[in-house]
Amino acid sequence: MKQFWAFVKKEWYHISRDYRTLLVLIGMPIVQILIFGYALSNEVKNTRIAILDFAGDSYSKELTDKIEASRYFETVTYLRSMNEIDRSLRSGEAKMVVVFPNNFTQQLVHQHESQLQLVTDGSNPNLSATLINYINAITRDFQTRVINEVSLPYTIHVQTRMMYNPQLLGAFTFVPGVIALVLMLICTMMTSVSIVKEKELGNMEILLVSPMHPLAVVFSKAVPYIGLSVGILSIILLLSVFLLGVPISGSIILLYVVSLIFIISALALGLLISTITNSQQVAMMISLMGLMLPTMMFSGFMFPIESMPIPLQWISNIVPAKWYFFSIQSIMIKGLGMEAILKEFLTLCGFAIFFLVLSVRNFKVRMA
């Protein structure tokens, strides 16, 4: 036990004296939260559009007003001819052009049918699709009002409600995502690099010759990083709750318990990496390339797993971050309890045990 604390103390000196790394460790999650929270956003707000109104009658004006009044759109220019559409999109002046044909009102009133053309910049498909949805919704709304004047016999009023995230805030997805990403990086990269560093400096030999058990060496190395990870997790949670207004609907204790299991599996993965390489750079590259990319792609925080091809969905199952992401999203946003995430929780435990056993075995093999 005394050996253990001597080691933890020494490891803590290393961490606390390496200001640059410490700054990166603490700074990275903060910057990521701020960037995702304020700068990067897939919400559509004040998109620049152009209007080409051949009708210029009462309904076309009214619909234009409704579009402009929404917080999604901002009309930057009124075009005069079809020829100007291409130029307007090409120059990036507008992301979408709304075209009203001749006699918009007249056709609607007399033939009960009229056309509205939307021309969008398809080079950004997601944005285009979102814009079209918004215009559709506004038009539908407008139509209902017009129809009510005329009064049709049957109408279906669609009522939508977005549960758990009524304002559709992006933060609800990326906060759990950033947590998963940052914990994975810190735990895996820092552990593997710090163990490999001992090897590179030749200190590992001294430690292995000492009466301290080799596994005790490795585990006591992990302890300060568990502490650091929990600290960083707390920073992210505080920022999310107080700065971005993301709620923690479920149990905080459960959130920490699940996180701890994830941290342990990430540490074990770092240990595994440290057993296969002797160079800090290789360890760092494996951690970055081998873990950060899959974590971003397959955890479900950037790309929905449901819409991936089946083989990729299978692959996503072996990414621990996916299970963790789902668990903390359920706990934080939906406020679910242990019974709802039991499968994910057990899978994470499985990963932790699997990586631990594998790395311990590998470590012993290396010793001989």
Partner: protein
């Protein structure tokens, strides 16, 4: 009373025989030198004795314990210092002392007393709080050696401990080794500096995994009719076929 007894010790890596059936004994309190070119197998032999590497075949006991079955007992009784530098550069002198004392299971009181004594002996008074990175290489090595014997081992293994320092600093380092040997600690040292070979009680010269000569430096020189250990070494190592 032998401190180290080795018989037909062999280490193979695949088809490559790094150490080929070596046999020797080291007496308690002796300064035993292990000489050889790079790749001669001296570090591999030492690693087997320290429990860092498992022998392929043969027998070896260190401090009376078997290297196969009693590695833990051996670890309690040996000190080790490698050619690669072994102190933590971002820890102070005192923190290094506390750390190594801690992992060797010394009590707080022992660490304090022996640490004081060590700082006094190395003339590091007033420098306890500076980072090891700022010490000159010679001092680092002296400090590393002193820390390696802080837990009072019965044997200390030194793997090319004086790499990269000038002959004068090496001489000072050897004074520490003599002091340690005088307290009864057995010194097992590998080196390729021939001036260091002269300081040893006995030396074993390894060539291509085999021990080609083993005796006191004086006796080796006399038997071979050569003036210096350097000549003795070259006349034996000339036949070497491997190296790096």
């Amino acid at each position: 009373m032998f401190s180290i007894e080795v018989e037909s010790l062999t280490k193979k890596f695949g088809s490559f025989t790094a150490v080929n059936s070596i046999t020797f004994t080291v007496k308690s309190g002796e300064i035993f030198g292990f000489l050889g070119a790079n790749g001669a197998g001296k570090t591999t032999a030492m690693r087997m004795l320290c429990g860092l590497s498992r022998p392929t075949s043969g027998q070896a006991s260190v401090a009376g314990f078997d290297v196969y079955r009693q590695a833990e007992e051996i670890k309690q009784r040996i000190g080790y210092m490698s050619q690669k530098f072994s102190l933590y550069a971002d820890l102070t002198v005192l923190e290094n002392i506390e750390f190594y004392g801690g992992i060797y299971g010394l009590t707080r009181g022992e660490i304090k007393d022996r640490g004081e004594e060590l700082i006094e002996r190395l003339d590091l008074r007033g420098e306890e709080e500076i980072m090891v990175a700022e010490l000159p290489l010679g001092w680092k090595q002296k400090l590393a050696f002193s820390i390696a014997i802080m837990h009072r081992p019965s044997i200390v293994f030194l793997d090319e401990p004086t790499g990269g320092v000038d002959p004068l600093t090496r001489r000072q380092f050897w004074e520490l080794i003599y002091e340690a040997a005088a307290t009864g600690i057995t010194i097992f040292v590998t080196t390729h500096y021939m001036d260091e070979a002269e300081y040893c009680d006995r030396v074993a010269i390894m060539v291509d995994g085999n021990i080609r000569a083993l005796d006191a430096p004086e006796k080796l020189k006399r038997d071979m009719g050569l003036a210096t250990m350097e000549r003795v070494f070259y006349s034996l190592a000339r036949e070497a076929t491997r190296g790096d």
